[in-house]
């Protein structure tokens, strides 16, 4: 196989090859990126606990429940523990520095979420101070925070009446052992929030967004869910109890059909690049008709010419694929941080996605190269030699 010819043909029109390569790189980057985003959205659902339950308002996730419900819920048979979880919605210095903050029952957080592993600081320090918080280790690294720091957070949902930021004392940093618990969240005392509201130092909605429940070993979650929903059937506010995985699924579906949309965009990108590459290769094939005729006249067999053109298409697509997957891998970490800020954990280009991108590149290369390669192989020498350059 005259490989040198393959390279020389690719380099014969450097601008066209470069532009095609650029388009391919962007397309394969997008395919890997979108696949990973969809994967991250679904990973939270898959990793979510089946035995941890979430109690929320039956009306909407945005309607808070009275805190008085907590003791009644804990009275249900099979419930081991419960924890308030209230969205805070603040940011650090600038709205672009957004990350998740939750007000929780501090003394129950680590029992309810064993996935949270402290890597610095300790639980007693967290419990000792009302303004203490635990923060994700990656979050701490991003902003240069460490244990003992006092960090100002500007309230979004809850504002201080004097206009000053909320101050939180960093009592510990953690890492999450599962994608269903965000590794870049700030957890702080619900009590701190509640007292600020009661004393009039701050304004914002009363109550708790959801209650997270852990169950006694061997308890049937379905029975507990039915019992809790039944308790408040005629209450001032009806509740809806679901498993954590179902809750996560609902949360993802709240994003509309985002995963489907992303999948469709990925498919569209792929189809567009397939047509573009096919067009490039058809043009290349047409331009080389006479060259193919010369090679045939010199004794090069049809299969060699077939290999030359399909090889050219493969090399082009593989280079584009490698570049696209390479960029996807290189940007994996910063993009993961970006998505964590939106509560989408687990973004990352794994080996499977990289292999998927490269396999697609090979498939596109074979598909786009087949038609011109087949035409070149079937070409009559005399006809080809008569073609214009």
């Amino acid at each position: 196989m005259p490989w040198s010819l393959l390279w020389r043909h690719l380099l014969a029109r450097p601008l066209r090859s470069l532009l095609t390569l650029g388009s391919l790189s962007i397309a394969f980057f997008l395919v890997c990126f979108l696949r990973s985003v969809v994967g991250a959205l679904e990973a939270g659902v898959e990793a979510a606990s089946q035995t941890r339950l979430i109690v929320q308002s039956a009306v909407s996730l945005f309607v808070n429940l009275p805190t008085s419900y907590q003791s009644k819920i804990e009275g249900a048979v099979g419930v081991a523990s419960s924890c308030k979880l209230q969205w805070f919605g603040g940011y650090y210095q600038d709205p672009s520095n957004f990350f998740a903050q939750f007000a929780v029952d501090a003394d129950r957080l680590l029992d309810i979420y064993p996935e949270i592993r402290l890597v610095d600081g300790d639980e007693p320090s967290f419990l000792r101070r009302r303004d203490a918080c635990l923060i994700g280790a990656d979050l701490a690294t991003s902003f240069g925070w460490s244990v003992g720091d006092s960090i100002p957070i500007i309230g979004g949902l809850y504002t201080r009446v004097d206009g000053t930021p909320w101050q939180f004392y960093v009592a510990g940093t953690y890492r999450s052992t599962s994608p269903n618990v965000d590794g870049r969240t700030l957890w702080f005392h619900y009590e701190y929030l509640e007292q600020s509201l009661e004393t009039g130092a701050a304004e914002g909605p009363q109550g708790a967004g959801v209650f997270v429940l852990s169950l006694d070993r061997g308890t049937d979650p379905t029975l507990v869910m039915g019992a809790i929903d039944g308790m408040f059937e005629n209450g001032p506010q009806r509740v809806q109890t679901t498993t954590e995985s179902e809750f996560q699924r609902q949360f993802v579906s709240m994003l509309g059909s985002v995963p489907t949309l992303l999948g469709s965009i990925g498919g569209g990108v792929l189809f567009a690049i397939l047509l573009a590459t096919l067009n490039t290769m058809l043009m290349a094939g047409r331009e080389r008709t006479r060259s193919m005729g010369i090679l045939k006249a010199l004794g090069f067999k049809d299969r060699i010419l077939f290999g030359l053109l399909i090889g050219e298409s493969l090399v082009l697509c593989l280079l584009g694929g490698l570049a696209g997957v390479g960029v996807a891998l290189a940007t994996s970490k910063p993009l993961a941080g970006f998505f964590d800020g939106f509560g989408i954990t687990g973004y990352g280009i794994d080996l499977g996605t990289a292999a998927f991108g490269l396999a697609l590149a090979i498939a596109v290369g074979l598909f786009a190269g087949f038609a011109p390669a087949w035409t070149a192989a079937r070409l009559r020498v005399v006809t080809a030699l008569g073609a214009e350059h």
Binding site: S291, I294, A297, L298, G299, V381, L385
Partner: protein, 255 residues
């Protein structure tokens, strides 16, 4: 490639088992189909070309010269009849075998030079050798030697667009002879050249025939070019009108 290697044909002449005629065309017929009608281009043509001969193929436009050249070179297949080259019946070869046979047996020179524009002169000359078992170094040496035979050793790194028409055709001649073929087929090799360049090309072909015993068939319209050949084959309306044997007129190679 050495001068000794180029003398392969001359040695074959000494082989008593080798057929007397290198090319034998027997009752060859070629019909082109155009708009549902058959156009007879070659009509039962018979021809013999002895080894080492330099033949000019002449005739008016449409007489079937290029078609005959393509058929003898295995670029096309006849609708009837048979062509034997060195005793091998071409109709018995598959497409793949015919390609291999071309690589081994025939060197082509075209009017439009037909060099690969993306390759240098040396790489163009090396092309036929990619189909052999020669090492890269051997291929380079052979290509350099072929280029020096046509007087273009100093143009080895030039691309076709950096060469004059005459130089391009000389590169094409080097490519045609680098694999030491039995037969060289030239389709109006001087058609696109000025007189000086044409004489250089004809001088080279003459030398290949006389010094290296190559059998050459050259299609031409130019009577002056035909004078370089030892025999002139005249075609008209797809039929052989006669073969004129003549003493070759020496071609003066300029420069």
């Amino acid at each position: 490639m050495s001068a000794a290697a180029l003398n392969r044909d001359a040695n074959r002449d000494a082989d008593p088992g080798a057929p007397a005629a290198l090319v034998r065309v027997e009752g060859v017929r070629r019909v082109y189909r155009r708009a549902g009608e058959g156009l007879v281009v070659l009509d039962g043509l018979d021809l013999e070309m002895e080894r080492g001969g330099f033949f000019a193929l002449m005739g008016p436009s449409g007489s079937g010269k290029t078609t005959l050249l393509n058929l003898i070179g295995g670029l096309d297949r006849p609708d009837g009849g048979e062509i034997y080259v060195d005793g091998e019946a071409l109709s018995g070869l598959s497409d793949g075998e015919l390609a291999a046979w071309r690589a081994d047996t025939v060197g082509f020179i075209f009017q439009g030079f037909n060099l690969m524009p993306v390759l240098t002169a040396q790489q163009n000359v090396e092309l036929p050798l990619l189909l052999t078992n020669l090492s890269r170094r051997e291929r380079r040496e052979h290509a350099r030697h072929a280029l020096s035979l046509v007087g273009l050793a100093d143009r080895a790194k030039h691309r076709p667009r950096q060469l004059s028409g005459g130089q391009e055709q000389r590169v094409a001649i080097a490519r045609a002879l680098v694999s030491d073929p039995l037969l060289i087929l030239a389709d109006e090799p001087t058609g696109d050249l000025d007189r000086v360049s044409a004489d250089q090309v004809l001088g080279l072909l003459s030398r290949l025939s006389k010094e290296f015993g190559k059998t050459i068939l050259m299609v031409t319209h130019d009577p002056r070019a035909a004078e370089a050949a030892g025999s002139v084959v005249n075609l008209d309306k797809g039929r052989l009108r006669g073969i004129e044997r003549r003493a070759r007129t020496p071609v003066r190679e300029p420069g």
